[in-house]
């Protein structure tokens, strides 16, 4: 299969612009959060200042393996997003994402610090909570478009003319938005790593990471956030330009929805996170798939 020019453009754009867009989004997030709390808030560019500062700090590591794991985390996140924006197979993307997150968990475990270990355990719990819904999203997109390839989904192959994936996948879309809170590390599900002061056991998974290592984690999160918003986009394209614009707009809206939810809720216990996300996965995700299955049978 020849490599499409769009795939190459998507990949290059992601690799270069990804961290800038992600950092900017996180800056806007902090500004909006501050405004919602009646504060003035930091400059929009603050996340970039933070990362530059972390790069300048003295490197302190607990053991030599730690940096390696964090580097792997960053690399696998970039590979995940790269595969996604290159238009590769959706299942492959999801599995690389899981691998990337596992490296972060191993890095946290390797420090032997009790706080980092609690963070790592909670990270694993979160993965258990959101992973089924992510897989159902991929299956749903396959059932509507007949392909796991992101290139095909974006081109709107297998769709009735004028249709978009969302019209068959409303339940799955709701389910995905639900677990997006977890993936963005937002309240009420910011179990393993909260961005708010005094809401965390020291600093969750990142407790033992400092300086350059922490900066790499931050950059990985920027890449990850852009890729996650790309996932929201996948519910909209049908090969036309205006649906692509709408999809990008909705992805941005989804981001602000998460910021809003973050500020409106306190953190929940992990039991609630696990139960509620599985309940949502079953009631919205699985029910949507079953319905789709029967409708496809009738058509």
């Amino acid at each position: 299969m020849p490599v499409s020019i769009y795939a190459v453009i998507g990949l290059v754009c992601y690799l270069i612009a990804g961290p800038f867009v992600g950092g900017l989004l996180s800056g806007i997030d902090r500004k909006v959060t501050a405004r919602m709390q009646g504060r003035f808030g930091p400059p929009i560019m603050q996340p970039f200042y933070d990362v530059r500062k972390l790069m300048e700090k003295e490197p302190v590591t607990v053991n030599s393996g730690q940096d390696f794991y964090v580097m792997c985390f960053l690399i696998f996140i970039i590979i995940t997003g790269g595969l996604f924006f290159f238009g590769e197979n959706l299942l492959l993307v999801i599995f690389t994402l899981t691998t990337a997150n596992l490296f972060l968990v191993i890095g946290a475990y390797s420090s032997n610090s009790p706080y980092a270990q609690i963070g790592a355990e909670r990270e694993l719990l979160q993965m258990m909570a959101y992973e089924p819904m992510v897989l159902l999203t991929a299956v749903g997109l396959y059932m509507t478009t007949g392909s796991f390839r992101i290139g095909d989904i974006v081109a709107g192959v297998g769709l009735d003319s004028g249709g978009i994936p969302l019209q068959y996948l409303v339940g799955i879309f709701i389910g995905y938005l639900f677990i997006l809170t977890m993936k963005f590390r937002k309240s009420p599900f910011d179990l393993s790593l909260s961005h708010h002061a005094h809401q965390e056991l020291v600093k969750g998974v990142t407790t033992e990471f400092s300086g350059r290592t922490l900066a790499l984690i931050e950059i990985a999160h920027w890449y990850e956030n852009v890729f996650l918003l790309g996932f929201v986009f996948l519910f909209f394209p049908n090969g036309t330009w205006y649906m692509a614009v709408i999809g990008a707009a909705v992805a941005l809206l989804a981001f602000f929805l998460e910021v809003f939810i973050d500020n409106a809720f306190a953190r929940m216990k992990w039991q609630f996170a696990l139960k509620s996300s599985w309940l949502v996965t079953i009631t919205f995700g699985a029910a949507n798939l079953i319905l789709l299955y029967y409708l496809r049978g009738l058509m």
């Binding site: 003035f40 930091p42 500062k53």
Partner: protein, 208 residues
């Protein structure tokens, strides 16, 4: 100006404070004062922190905690003593368990007196600590922070103890922890022999 002044992260520790100063430190984070405007974040983690705010004096039980937090913070780092208790021991100075101000245990860069220190004064103290951070950052750039040889390691060991055993005559400029201190004063101060012990012999050799 280095980036450290644009994103100072803070860790706050309550020594034996009466909680008056603690409340004022936390008040700095509220919408009224909003220190996040300057990129200041209150982290709970010494490994992420740049500025160490201590309220209250040091007592026999928390001295190890204060030392440990200080040691866990990566360079460059600054310490600000908030309130008169942290500055000198304050009204608790003569208590049986009080060792005194924060500078009895770790080097302090900024003193913010007041009982309780006002949020405006605390913010001012943090801004002054930024100046200290900037200077330390510059000093770090001058010297490679990795100690490779034994002599360098010994030199750095001495540097850590400098605030207490500072040389009788200052070198060219003010001696701050983290500054680029060379071992030469051990050689140039022959009357310092009494304070010499085994660990200084390594640096003496380097001089020769």
């Amino acid at each position: 100006m280095s980036y450290i002044t644009k994103s100072p992260w803070i860790i706050h520790y309550d020594g034996s404070s009466c909680n008056g100063c603690d409340i004022e430190v936390l008040a700095c984070l509220t919408p009224m004062y909003d220190v996040e405007r300057f990129g200041i974040i209150n982290t709970g983690n010494p490994k992420h922190a740049d500025i160490f705010l201590i309220t209250g004096s040091i007592n026999e039980q928390n001295v190890s905690v204060v030392k440990q937090i200080y040691e866990q913070m990566p360079e460059p780092k600054a310490v600000a003593a908030i309130g008169i208790c942290a500055t000198s021991g304050g009204v608790f100075k003569d208590c049986y368990n009080i060792m005194g101000g924060v500078d009895t245990v770790i080097p302090v860069d900024v003193y913010v007196p007041g009982c309780a220190a006002r949020p405006e004064a605390i913010i001012d103290g943090v801004v002054r600590a930024l100046g200290a951070l900037d200077e330390k950052k510059k000093a770090m750039e001058k010297r490679p922070h990795e100690t490779t040889t034994a002599a360098e390691a010994v030199a750095n060991l001495d540097r850590m103890g400098l605030p207490d055993g500072a040389p009788p005559e200052p070198l060219e400029e003010l001696v701050l922890p983290g500054d680029d201190i060379e071992v030469k004063y051990f050689g140039t101060q022959p009357d310092d022999e009494s304070a010499d012990d085994s660990k200084n012999s390594g640096s003496g050799k380097e001089e020769a």
